[in-house]
Structure formats: C-alpha cells, structure tokens
C-alpha cells in the first residue's frame, strides 16, 4: 500500500514539475521552474518523511494522497501546506522526545500511538527489534524477540489492539534508554525551526501580499486622481490665462492693423497694449510651469531646487542638504512639492521666523526633516495641503510624519524609499 501511494505521489510530483513550465513563463531552466513552484516543491518530501516516521496507515496514506492532489490542483496552497506539515511534525517530535525520555526511564519503550504498530503477517512468530522504536512490527502472538547487536538497554513486549483485527497483538519495543530522546529532540527542533522559517515566506507572505495589493490599489487611485486634478487645473489655468490673453492679443493686433492707415497713433497704442498682453501671458505661463515642474528641479535636481525654494521663501532658512546624486524624477518632484507645501505652511500658518531643512539620502531612503519655530498646532487631518502631500508621497511608499504641539515647534519628517540614480558630475 505504502509503495503504491509513494509511486502515485512521485507521478504527481512529475506532473507538477511539467506544469511548472507554464508558471515559469515557458522557461526551460530548472532554476526558474523550481522558483516558480516555490516552497510547494517541499510538500511531497515532507509527506514521505511522515510516511516513513509513522508507517503506512490510513492517516499517513491519506495525507500523502491529499498532498499529491493539492500539489497539482492548488500549487499556490502547496507551499502553505508544506509549512504547516513541518510545524506539525516538529510538534509531534517534541511530544515524542518527551515521551521517549519519560517512558524509557520507567522501563517501557515508547511506540507512539497504538495504531502505529504495523500488523505483520498473521503467522509471524518473531519480531526483530529495530532501533526505530516508533515503527514496531506487531504480531498476533507473544513473539520471540531477536536482539540486535549491540542490544538495546530496554526491551519490552507490549500488547496492542490492531484496528479491524481480532484479539491482542504483540510488538517488541526497544529503547536506547532515557538519552534516546536527544536525536528525536534535535530532529523536532529542526522541523519546527524550518517550518516557522517558512511561515512568513508562505502563509505570512500571502497576508502581506494582500495588504500590499490593497495599499497599492489605494495609492494608485490617489495617484490617478491627483494626476487628473492636476491636468484639470492646468487646463483651466491655460484656458483662463494664457489662451484668453493670446485671443485678446490677436484682436488687438487686428484692430491695430485696421487703424494703421487712418490713425497711426491709436494703432501704435494698440500694438503697445498687445506687447503688454504677451508679457502677461508669458508671466502666467511661467507661473504655470513652475507649478507643474519647477525648471531648477529639472536642471539641478532636488538639492538645488530646495535651495532655490528656500531663497524664495519669506522666512529665514537654515539648510543642511547632502544629496550626492539625482533621484528618480517623479520622486524628486513629489519631495520638492512636499517641502514647498511645508515651507508655505510654516510661513503662512505657523508664523515661523526660522525654518531648518535637513535632507539626507542614506540606505536607499530619502529623509527630509523640516523644523520651524512657529506656533505649532498643525494637523495633517485638518488641512488638505498636508493630506495631499501625504497621498502623493504614498505613491512611492513614502511617509509624512508631523509633530506639532500647540506652541510649537513643528517638525515634519518625510521619508521616501528610493535609489540614487547618478552621482553629480558638475562641481558647482
């Protein structure tokens, strides 16, 4: 029976292996395929260990069949099952070690639960003692014990009830003595440790993955909303500003064209007006561009852009910026507007006189701390500005923390995980 089930499980493993090619994206490399199967590849070997430890019985056979089927039908669950099985084996091992220790001291070898004794053929008269005490062979008559060499310290013939067989059966059990628990305990710890190590990589990863997916879909919605709102703002600004001015400009020029012959003086005045209007259109476009992507940010990166920002702030600033290279453009932009918002708050609401900005990139995290000496009491939940900054940073897994007790000081810390792209080449 055990043989048949083992063969069946090997066939299942082969099928799972063949199917892993689809999951590995058609790759023939065995490394890719093992990676595609994940820890599920361990499931059947663990079930085989269980079969070997507990002997062939309905429970172990059922387990092996279940695992084989699970590996093929639910390859995603197989890794979780492997972790659970390992932990169960470890726990069983702990109990077994304890039992070996306890019963060996009482002069009784321990053989696990009764059903573990394996019924031998009904005519068997003798039992060979093996060192695997937990897999005893049971015979229907009190057996003649054949001792191995060297002989075990404790030998005991035990009566068993074998399911579905009449009368008591007997098995000879041996133990190496109380210290026999040591290898069992070591094996138990090994199983348990490996199983627990697997949990965050299988079952735990599933939970983490789910919350990650939820967070990503939230921040993605935020990012899309922000981008759409931004585009609407740009469209409105262009429509009401530069576009309208260009229309007026064209009309003024057309009027001037008509007036040229009749009254050159009036035409000249109109042309002057048109020039004025083109100037204003340019100013509006410039402000708009600054709001979309500040030119210094494009030219020089985050460090100099924040320096330029500090220069334009009505509050006195103290800067401590150490960025040895450029960051990804979207991160630079989000961090820049975050600092801009915080600075604006410090000047507008906190009545600060001095703002300190620290900016560092260490261990793939950009960390910005902005401290002001204002009146404090800022709450990101109240104002939409900081909330918007938080959402924009969230797209990059960035966070914004605000500490602002009434009376100040206000400390805003921004952290964004990101890599440095390049080292600075220009010396200035």
């Amino acid at each position: 029976m055990g043989f048949v089930v083992t063969i069946f499980s090997i066939v299942c493993l082969v099928i799972a292996w063949l199917r892993s090619r689809d999951r590995a994206g058609g790759s023939r490399s065995w490394r890719c395929r093992v990676r595609a199967m994940g820890w599920g590849v361990l499931l059947l070997p663990i079930a085989w260990i269980a079969l070997w430890l507990f002997g062939v019985n309905p429970a172990t056979v059922g387990l092996l069949l279940l695992c084989s089927v699970a590996l093929i039908l639910f390859p995603g669950v197989a890794a979780d099952l492997a972790a659970v099985l390992l932990i169960l084996l470890g726990l069983y091992g702990l109990a077994a070690a304890f039992a070996v220790y306890k019963y060996a001291r009482q002069g009784v070898a321990w053989a696990g639960a009764d059903f573990i004794a394996k019924p031998a053929a009904a005519h068997a008269k003798q039992v060979a003692i093996s060192w695997k005490t937990s897999i005893a062979t049971a015979v229907p008559h009190p057996p003649k014990v054949v001792m191995p060499s060297p002989p075990p310290k404790v030998v005991n013939v035990q009566e068993f009830i074998v399911p579905f067989r009449p009368g008591p059966w007997y098995a000879a059990l041996a133990s190496t003595g109380p210290q026999g628990y040591v290898p069992v305990l070591l094996a138990a710890f090994l199983f348990l440790a490996f199983g627990l190590w697997l949990v965050p990589r299988t079952i735990g990863a599933r939970g983490a993955l789910a919350s990650r997916v939820q967070r990503l879909s939230e921040t993605r919605t935020d990012a899309v909303d922000t981008a759409a709102a931004e585009l609407r703002r740009v469209e409105r600004d262009l429509h009401d500003g530069a576009q309208a001015r260009l229309v007026a400009l064209g009309m003024s020029l057309r009027a001037a064209e008509r007036l040229f012959a009749a009254s050159p003086g009036a035409a000249l005045a109109l042309v002057g007006e048109a020039r004025e209007m083109s100037s204003r259109a340019l100013t509006e476009l410039r402000d708009l561009v600054r709001g979309i992507h500040p030119p210094v940010l494009a030219d020089r990166g985050l460090g100099d852009a924040v320096r330029a920002l500090a220069l334009d702030t009505p509050v006195a600033t103290k800067l401590d910026i150490d960025l040895p290279g450029r960051l990804a453009e979207p991160v630079e932009s989000a961090a820049y507007f975050a600092v801009a918002e915080v600075l604006a708050n410090a000047a507008k609401h906190a009545q600060a006189r001095m703002v300190e900005i620290h900016m560092r990139h260490t261990g793939d995290v950009l960390r910005i701390a902005v401290t002001d000496d204002g009146i404090g009491g800022a709450d990101p939940a109240m104002g939409s500005g900081l909330r918007g900054v938080e959402r924009r940073l969230g797209t990059f897994d960035g966070i914004l923390a605000v500490s602002s007790p009434p009376g100040g000081p206000t400390i805003v810390v921004i952290e964004v995980p990101c890599a440095l792209l390049s080292l600075k080449t220009s010396s200035s």
């Binding site: 020039r275 083109s278 100037s279 340019l282 100013t283 410039r286 561009v289 600054r290 030119p295 210094v296 494009a298 030219d299 020089r300 100099d304 320096r307 330029a308 220069l311 334009d312 702030t313 009505p314 509050v315 006195a316 006189r353 220009s426 200035s428």
Partner: protein, 214 residues
C-alpha cells in the same frame, strides 16, 4: 561691439541677431549648444555674450554652466544670461565671483528693446544687471539682523534700481529726484553696508551682492 549669442530656438536666435544688428552690434557668432557656446566664448572673447540658460544637448542649465566656466577662465567676461524664468540661486552663482559684467534677465525683457540694449551695454561695461523679478522677490523676504534692514525705504528703492543695472541718472529720473540726491543715497548705502570707498562700479556690484545675499 562684438557679441556672441547662444540660443537654441532658431526663431529667437534669429530675432535676437536682427535686433542687435539693428542697434549697431556686431554678431561674432550665434550658437545653439552649450559646448559650442563655451568654445565661442573662449576663442572670440567677445565684448559681451547673450546666453540662454537652457541649452542642448542636455536641456538643463547648460548655458549657465558654460558661461560660468568661461568666466572662471576669463574673469569678468561680460555675460548677459537670458531665461524663461529667473532663480535667485542662479543669480547668486553668477554674482559669486564678484567680478561684475553680469546680467540676468527674463527673456521677455527683450520686448522692450531700448531697455534691453541699455542693459546689454551696462553689462559690457562691467555693470551688474538683475531682473526686476529677482529684485522684487528679495523685497518680500524678511529677516532680523541683516545689514540691508539698516537701510531706509528710499535707500532700498535706490539699491533695487541699482541691482537692475540702472545708472545714477536713470535712477534719478525714475524716482523724480536729482542725480545728486541719488549719489548721496548711494554713498549712504555703501556706508551702511560697510563697503570701503573704492572704484564706484565695484562698490555697486558689492552692494547688489550684499542685497542678494540677505
């Protein structure tokens, strides 16, 4: 007067060249990239150069970098930087060498060609010309113990116009006072900013610098 023009947009470059030629300037070379600008500046050493901040190939502040590099090799090489936007950061970098002969203006100041040409001549003459936008932004900054806060409002006005590159007579005209009053104000400004008596042009540059560095 020999001029080098660096501007990557053909229409603007062409317009600038026409405008300058109409005012009697001689265009030594008109270039469209950062490296070409640096080469032109160093080989021709023109009386003045008009430089767009953003130039190819990188389309970042390549023009500014080329101008700064050229001025490191040829101190005081007059450069008028034009840009679609003005940044105090760039203004400071241009002024940092304290050699004078620097201008930094928005591109649309070209619309008023008389003022633009006046500014260009001022830069060529070693003066400092800052865009009113740079200057006006400084007025909104407030600070406690900066030397500029010692100035009276009138003196600030005079200093702001000085930073825009105007001569004493132009400032007098603008403020509806006599030229003598302006020179009295400027002497007082130099004293309050602790600038030792020296060549007046150099002091004007230093005063503007003190102003920008607050």
């Amino acid at each position: 007067m020999r001029v080098v023009v660096a501007e990557d947009l053909f229409l603007l470059r062409d317009g600038l060249v026409r405008l300058l030629e109409a005012h009697g300037f001689e265009i030594t070379e008109a270039v469209g990239t950062g490296p070409a600008l640096l080469r032109a500046l160093l080989t021709h050493q023109p009386d003045v150069a008009i430089v767009d901040v953003r130039l190819p190939p990188s389309f970042t502040d390549e023009g500014l970098q080329a101008a700064l590099a050229a001025r490191r090799q040829v101190p005081g090489l007059p450069v008028l930087v034009l840009s679609q936007y003005v940044e105090q950061l760039y203004a400071r970098e241009l002024l940092a060498d304290q050699a004078g002969g620097v201008g930094y203006l928005l591109k649309d100041r070209v619309f008023n060609d008389d003022q633009f040409v006046e500014a260009l001549r001022a830069v060529a003459g070693g003066g400092t010309v800052m865009d009113p936008d740079v200057v006006s932004k400084l007025l909104v900054r407030r600070g406690r113990d900066e030397p500029v806060t010692r100035l009276s409002p009138r003196e600030r006005e005079v200093l702001a116009l000085m930073a825009e590159g105007r001569s004493n007579s132009a400032i007098a005209q603008r403020l509806f006072v006599t030229e003598k009053a302006v020179s009295k104000h400027s002497t007082s400004i130099f004293a309050k900013l602790d600038l030792a008596p020296s060549d007046d042009d150099n002091r004007r540059v230093l005063a503007v610098l003190a102003y920008l560095n607050t």
